[in-house]
């Protein structure tokens, strides 16, 4: 019964698109669009790309059979692996991120008919859902998905998107990350430019309201990656010695300042924590003398003596999907479209989840995995809109 109703919704959406297309209008799809039924080129613009540039998938032989998967909050929605859907029109939304429940994508935008920029959200499901203003303050993600933070002089104003509560944090104007449970905060002198990249960076911690702040550590060119699931420690990267290009990834205890090294390497960067905090992926580079030290690595966060960092066979962009499952998009490919692969840190298995036939072309490495790992969203290089594709398990 449920499947039948969903197919009816899908059929209605496709029919609506077809009617508009036959009218010869510039299709205004009010959001979601199934790429498999789109004109080749993946855009609604009349002069848009022919297939050679953004081919999109072939029309399926039969209607896709939806799979279902529990989201992080237990709700269920149909999944259509291998079939890209466009969520928005107008080329609006670089740097989007997922809401905590995975139900929508959030981004800062100011459509032409809006007086000010705001935080917008577009539902991933059902088809055709329109973007809506989520928060008029245009705040940006503050680490945990339910918090945003916006600059206000020497403060960051933190907002709880679920309760509407907001409060200032005396960060000196620097960006802040909140623990997912909202109990602790860290901020660092990320002033950008040379000050951010090449300077000694101080990392501070406190409770969520900025009380009892303490200097946790100082590292050259430091950056804070995020909180671990214990809500007490953060992972940071930086180099201890200015004159050496050897960076370290460390854990920092916000309460005690205790520091422990996870891994180190030349120009270690792009560190990313797995959702369960057990693994870290990172990039090391530019060591001409010992090329075996360059590459993308996966290492356990705790107990490094138990397992050593493993160098990946791929070169590309990566995001965590679920515990130990690293998604990646290879940089080098002879295909016109991008592919999405999965590396399983526990088994070492390497699996292609989405092939070039899906027609994905990611703009500027702007893509992300849903909190439940069931989907990937990306900014499309051809039409600069947000798209989403469901992944097979």
């Amino acid at each position: 019964m449920r499947r039948g109703a969903l197919l009816l919704v899908l059929a209605a959406a496709l029919t609506a698109w077809g009617i508009r297309d036959r009218r010869g209008d510039v299709p205004d799809l009010d959001g979601l669009w199934l790429a498999s039924d789109a004109p080749a080129g993946g855009s609604t613009e009349p002069e848009a790309a022919p297939a050679i540039l953004h081919p999109g998938p072939p029309a399926p032989a039969a209607e896709p059979q939806p799979e279902t998967m529990p989201s992080v909050q237990g709700a269920r929605r149909p999944l259509y692996p291998g079939h890209p859907r466009r969520l928005v029109t107008g080329g609006c939304c670089t740097g989007a991120w997922w809401s905590a429940d995975g139900a929508r994508l959030l981004y800062v935008d100011r459509p032409s008919d809006s007086p000010v920029a705001a935080l917008w959200g577009v539902p991933v499901w059902p088809p055709g859902a329109n973007p809506e203003v989520v928060d008029a303050s245009a705040g940006y993600s503050a680490g945990a998905p339910r918090f945003t933070a916006r600059p206000a002089g020497d403060f960051r104003v933190v907002r709880n998107l679920e309760s509407g509560e907001e409060w200032p944090l005396p960060t000196g104007g620097d960006p802040v990350l909140l623990a997912p449970d909202g109990q602790r905060a860290v901020w660092w002198d990320a002033r950008g430019g040379r000050e951010g990249v090449d300077a000694m960076i101080n990392i501070h911690g406190s409770d969520a309201f900025g009380r009892s702040p303490r200097l946790l550590t100082s590292l050259w060119g430091a950056n804070v990656v995020g909180f671990l699931p214990d809500q007490r420690r953060v992972v940071a990267i930086g180099r201890p010695i200015k004159e050496r290009a050897l960076y370290a990834a460390v854990t920092l205890d916000v309460d005690t300042g205790e520091l422990a090294e996870i891994a180190s390497g030349p120009w270690l960067s792009d560190a990313l924590l797995s959702p369960d905090g057990r693994w870290i992926a990172y990039l090391t580079s530019l060591d001409r003398n010992r090329p075996e030290r360059n590459g993308i690595w996966v290492a356990p966060v705790d107990d490094p003596s138990h397992d050593t960092p493993r160098r990946m066979d791929f070169v590309g962009a990566y995001r965590w999907r679920r515990s130990g499952q690293l998604l990646y998009v290879p940089m080098a490919s002879s295909d016109a479209a991008d592919s999405i692969w999965q590396y399983d840190a526990a088994t070492g298995a390497d699996t292609r989840l989405v092939g070039p036939e899906a027609g994905i072309r990611i703009a500027g490495n702007d893509w992300s995995a849903a909190p439940d790992g069931g989907s990937v969203a990306w900014l499309d290089a051809a039409d600069r809109n947000l798209w989403v594709i469901d992944l097979p398990d």
Partner: protein, 256 residues
């Protein structure tokens, strides 16, 4: 695995695209400003952007393929967050924007000429210490290579061919441990304007950016947050002109 999608190219689109390519080629013959106009407007359209790419006159400045062991894009041209924070200092002369593309690479990496041309200057004007090189190209542009390790061995007036080794990359602080990269610019013959190298260097730039865990950030003007947010949608720079990114409200925020 399914077979590739059949190409469905409407004849009118092919004709339109052909016209665009022809117009672009013609613009290239007319000089920087014409090509700039032709390049910027269509950059929002994937078809035209790709077709335009076919007409790009230059190649990459390294012989080796990209990767962690060789080179990768570390900062795009234009409205980058890095340049925004330095808009009143390091990038003030370039209207607050990053005047070129930074390609991270170890000190001593061989830099090759991106096109046929004649060496214009060695350690001449243009900044990007400790050493730099400028090459005049017959298409009407100048390629500029900055943060070189040592004074390039080529001489002004010397002819070079695309792919010829012309310099060694270095570090902007001359340490090789703080910021080793090549800074590549495309300028007009007066050296007074800089253009987005993405519009001139024939490469799949979106794919070159597919390395690591996050996008390279552009700063947002919260009064116009869609503007200048893509590697292939950036304004030309008039050296000495007013700041283009002195936004009243921005994200990230910074005094610069």
């Amino acid at each position: 695995m399914r077979a590739p999608a059949p190409r469905r190219v409407a004849p009118a689109r092919v004709l339109a695209a052909t016209v665009v390519v022809a117009a672009t080629a013609a613009a290239a013959l007319r000089g920087p400003e014409a090509l700039e106009r032709s390049a910027r407007a269509p950059a929002r359209d994937g078809v035209v952007a790709r077709l335009h790419a076919q007409a790009k006159p230059f190649g990459l400045p390294f012989a080796e393929p990209p990767g962690p062991a060789t080179w990768y894009v570390s900062q795009p041209y234009g409205n980058t967050a890095y340049a925004f924070f330095e808009r009143r200092s390091l990038y003030g002369a370039g209207q607050g924007l990053h005047m070129g593309i930074d390609l991270a690479t170890a000190c001593g990496t061989v830099v090759v000429a991106i096109g046929d041309g004649v060496v214009r200057s060695v350690d001449g004007p243009g900044g990007a210490p400790p050493h730099n090189l400028a090459i005049d190209h017959p298409e009407g542009y100048v390629s500029f290579y900055g943060h070189l390790l040592e004074r390039p061995a080529v001489q002004p007036g010397q002819s070079v061919r695309r792919g010829d080794p012309v310099a060694l990359s270095g570090d902007m602080y001359a340490t090789c441990t703080e910021s080793p990269h090549l800074h590549l610019e495309i300028r007009d013959p007066t050296m007074g304007r800089a253009f987005n190298p993405v519009d001139f260097v024939d490469a799949d730039w979106n794919r070159l950016l597919l390395l690591g865990a996050a996008p390279k950030p552009f700063v947002r003007d919260l009064d116009d947050p869609r503007r200048w947010q893509a590697v292939d949608d950036q304004p030309a720079i008039q050296f000495g002109g007013p700041l283009l990114n002195d936004y009243a409200r921005s994200w990230p925020q910074g005094d610069g």
